[in-house]
Symmetry: C2
Subunit: 198 residues, 2 copies
């Protein structure tokens, strides 16, 4: 069984879109799915990149584009009151959940809070509610965010992203081949199904 690795960042709106689709894509194609939360901000720093939203014309377009995708996927979408957001806590909570095999539930809970409802996920109480709402052990996960194994794993994921050429989120790897963005899910599916080469 081939593996899809899903590198994702809570602060990324296209990650929100893709996260709601990738589980089904993996099931439909019989692929194993690995959730890999990482710090996109660190990757941008490393590559001397700026946020796409730093260009005003692009930022203006982006929210319209997101709204179209949200309609297509039938998802709620709210521009967060805090953007960009400090995603350290959310990212660590995601890592903690992933270490317990709850990567998908945590991702959908966190991204839903931030991009679906526009909440400030840098706040512990917001994170508590979001994780609880998904049936996760929210208190334990937030406690785990202060532990070395979780901090180390987030650092390792981020370093791995840099090493493997990631420059945005979400980034998927299928059988080693990299795909960037919600808008490449179909292309990745075409590769998985053997319709095109990677």
């Amino acid at each position: 069984m081939a593996t899809i690795e899903f590198f994702w960042e809570p602060g990324s709106p296209y990650t929100y879109l893709a996260a709601t689709q990738i589980g089904r894509l993996a099931r439909d194609t019989g692929s194993e799915l690995q959730w890999k939360p990482f710090l996109l901000g660190k990757v941008f720093q490393e590559r001397k990149m700026t946020l796409p939203a730093a260009i005003p014309a692009k930022a203006q377009y982006m929210f319209k584009d997101l709204a179209r995708w949200a309609q297509l996927y039938a998802l709620p979408l709210t521009m967060p009151k805090v953007f960009p957001v400090n995603s350290m806590l959310a990212n660590r909570a995601a890592v903690a959940a992933t270490l317990q095999g709850q990567g998908e539930a945590a991702a959908l809970a966190i991204l839903g809070a931030y991009w679906g409802r526009g909440e400030d996920i840098s706040q512990p109480e917001v994170m508590l509610q979001a994780l609880k709402g998904a049936g996760l052990d929210a208190e334990a996960l937030l406690e785990a965010t202060q532990t070395d194994p979780v901090k180390d794993q987030l650092r390792a994921n981020t370093e791995e992203a840099v090493q493997r050429g990631v420059f945005g989120a979400p980034t998927m790897f299928y059988d080693g081949a990299m795909f960037w963005g919600n808008d490449r899910l179909d292309l990745m599916k075409a590769v998985i199904e053997g319709r095109i080469k990677a």
Copy 2:
């Protein structure tokens, strides 16, 4: 009949991909199609943007991504020997052809020469061959590139792109709504067909 405006630039690889699809999309949806060549470099200057390929990790990924789309569309793809290219001549020839109602033929000829075969379209003899190969009056078009109406129209298209919020290529407008990129053709189609709102 609603109109699709297709803002395109010879030096843009995703424009090559989209240009081969947009004609059919327009026919399938019963839309009028307007070809609008413009100088993407000027728009980048205006918005203080850099080429996407300026980030090494992105450039490396981009060519793989292009190769996947080319497979999907069954198109030839060759990394041009000269990139980025001075697209002034090609852009003016495209404008000249468009003024004579030959916008699609010229676009496919120019983009095919540059991205399909990797030729240096800044050279008049390359442009001559490419336009001739498409059955166009190549000599007349190249002569027209030196005339004021053509120069002015290219300037006007570029200025229009800036004014309307364009920041990349290709950019499509359907009934005033903007869509950026080959990877937004399906989303635009969904809007044209009324499946989602713009």
